[in-house]
């Protein structure tokens, strides 16, 4: 009960920081909208397949930008105090959940701006939303640990993108398949199978990072 409480407080703390530093949210919003605007100006007509690909590329790069600071901002003594109270496992779970929620919001943001500025080729809306949610889940799991590694590794801006983009590929490939089903490019016969496989991968990665994070955190 105490642990859940701790996790909850950490999440609330993260959101408070986010809301107080409004420029971070605003910069991500501007990044997404300006990129989508450029894409819509360059590619006059976008086929569903291209739409899908660009969506995930933008998703990854926005996520890298957003996650970069995920462990970097925890320098001031107040945050150290927080972490003195909470165990590493609670910290990483809190980060997972916080990153997951912010990535869902980001995904929906990108999705919305795609529909407004480019076009709306979605056939099965529910499948597509499931794709975004699972994508946010997978990306948050991988990027949380990688950003912890990168922040401990010194110059984290370049390190983060070098480490995270190859690592995210297997999860993104599954998500591409799922959202392609949502766009009706791919038949949705293997939908359940793909989702189960993706969930299995994510669960394994969550387990691995729960074991590894305390080790990294102590350094």
């Amino acid at each position: 009960m105490n642990q859940i409480n701790n996790v909850w407080h950490l999440i609330v703390k993260d959101f408070n920081i986010e809301i107080r530093q409004r420029y971070i949210l605003a910069s991500i919003l501007l990044y997404v909208i300006s990129t989508v605007f450029i894409i819509s100006k360059i590619l006059q007509t976008v086929s569903p397949m291209l739409w899908n690909a660009i969506f995930w590329i933008l998703f990854i790069f926005t996520a890298v930008n957003a996650m970069m600071k995920s462990f970097n901002q925890e320098i001031s003594s107040r945050e150290l105090y927080y972490y003195y109270l909470a165990s590493p496992v609670e910290i990483i779970i809190a980060k997972f959940i916080y990153n997951f929620i912010s990535l869902i919001i980001m995904g929906l943001l990108i999705f919305g701006s795609f529909i407004i500025f480019i076009n709306n080729p979605i056939d099965h809306f529910a499948i597509f939303i499931v794709g975004i949610i699972l994508g946010a889940l997978g990306v948050s799991v991988v990027f949380t640990l990688v950003s912890a590694i990168a922040s401990k590794g010194g110059n984290s801006a370049t390190l983060m993108s070098v480490l995270s983009i190859p690592l995210i590929l297997p999860i993104i490939l599954f998500n591409l398949r799922i959202t392609a089903m949502g766009l009706n490019i791919l038949g949705s016969t293997t939908f359940v199978n793909d989702i189960l496989m993706l969930l299995a991968i994510i669960i394994i990665l969550v387990g691995v990072s729960l074991i590894l994070f305390p080790q990294i955190w102590r350094t």
């Binding site: 640990l145 590694i149 480490l163 190859p166 297997p170 350094t219």
Partner: protein, 351 residues
């Protein structure tokens, strides 16, 4: 001397792989047939270019040949003449009707002789028919007497179309990938060991194994692209296995970058071990799960990413498995050198 037995084993196995890998002959096969499209009811002479068939050692009368599209429907050759060591002329009288109600039907050419056995070029000849009569066709095509085939005498690796001698690359290209995976697996075990009891030696071993594994992976990519150029026609394709392999190389290149970016030795060891373990769990779906989902030019596509069954003949196994062991032992040897270098470096920096 006793401690180094595995190095000698590596050398002996490597020699065994190189010698047997190159010297074991290829079974005879058909490289090309011309003309490739025929008309039903005509008499035709096929010019067949064979490979490794040792035609000069055999007489024309030894040969038998068939055109068939199922083992039950075949016609035998009317006349066979060996022209030179590679080419052979085969005469066929094509019946007026074919065994199917399609206008165009594929037939395979089978050649058989004592000592060199029988060999086939599947779906090599297209026959066109103007009028269709399946029952008469079946009657005409059942006079082939397609039985009592000879077997190849001696040890030889199978003949595969397009691949020909490059089938031997299985020993070098494929076993490099296998031993790369073994090296990574062992390095992950050492990373786990390191995180459990923080002995710096374990991290040295793990990182050295990753260095050698990455070298093997890069060599696997280079050898694969040389092979691909000569069988698929391009150095790089959009094939899944190829691209997943490239991605796993990128992941391990990121590992090496990560290691070089951290100065503090303890922190470097802990963080890179954690990354190594995490990366390995991501590599597993890359190599074993995703190739199942899409088609691949590599063997074992569409459902089974494994390598075996029809693709791996027993004679291939005889060299392929030793090749894996040889490359793995070589990898351990190479990483052993790096480990010793790193230990000396640590001692120097401490003193």
């Amino acid at each position: 001397m006793k401690k180094n037995w595995w190095k000698f084993l590596a050398i002996i196995l490597m020699l065994y792989v190189l010698i047997l890998g190159f010297l074991m002959p290829l079974k005879p096969g058909i490289i090309s047939v011309s003309p490739q499209s025929l008309n039903a009811g005509s008499q035709i002479t096929l010019k067949v270019k064979t490979y490794n068939a040792k035609l000069e050692e055999l007489k024309s009368a030894d040969f038998r040949a068939w055109l068939l599209n199922d083992t039950s429907f075949a016609i035998a050759a009317s006349k066979i003449a060996v022209l030179n060591a590679q080419t052979i002329d085969i005469d066929f009288e094509i019946p007026t009707y074919l065994t199917s109600d399609d206008k165009i039907v594929d037939y395979s050419l089978v050649i058989d002789a004592p000592k060199i056995g029988s060999f086939v070029l599947p779906a090599s000849i297209i026959i066109k028919q103007d009028s269709i009569n399946v029952s008469k066709g079946k009657d005409l095509w059942s006079k082939g007497n397609f039985k009592h085939l000879n077997h190849y005498e001696g040890f030889a690796i199978p003949f595969r179309n397009i691949l020909y001698e490059t089938l031997r690359n299985t020993y070098f290209h494929v076993s490099l990938w296998f031993s790369m995976f073994i090296l990574y697996l062992v390095s992950v075990i050492y990373s786990i060991k390191f995180l459990r009891n923080k002995n710096q030696d374990f991290d040295t071993i793990g990182s050295s194994l990753v260095e050698v594994g990455t070298l093997f992976g890069v060599l696997g990519l280079i050898t694969g692209s040389i092979w691909a150029k000569n069988t698929w026609g391009t150095y790089w394709t959009t094939d899944v296995k190829l691209n997943m392999a490239a991605v796993s190389m990128m992941i391990y290149a990121a590992y090496l970058i990560l290691r070089s970016s951290i100065q503090d030795e303890d922190r470097k060891a802990i963080i890179s071990s954690a990354y190594n373990i995490f990366a390995f769990f991501i590599i597993i779906p890359l190599i074993f799960v995703i190739p199942r989902l899409t088609d691949s030019l590599h063997p074992g596509n569409g459902g089974n990413p494994g390598f075996g069954g029809e693709d791996l003949d027993n004679t291939l196994r005889l060299v392929f498995y030793p090749a894996i062991i040889a490359f793995t032992l070589m990898g351990f040897w190479m990483s052993n050198l790096i480990i010793r270098y790193k230990k000396i470096k640590q001692k120097l920096s401490e003193s």
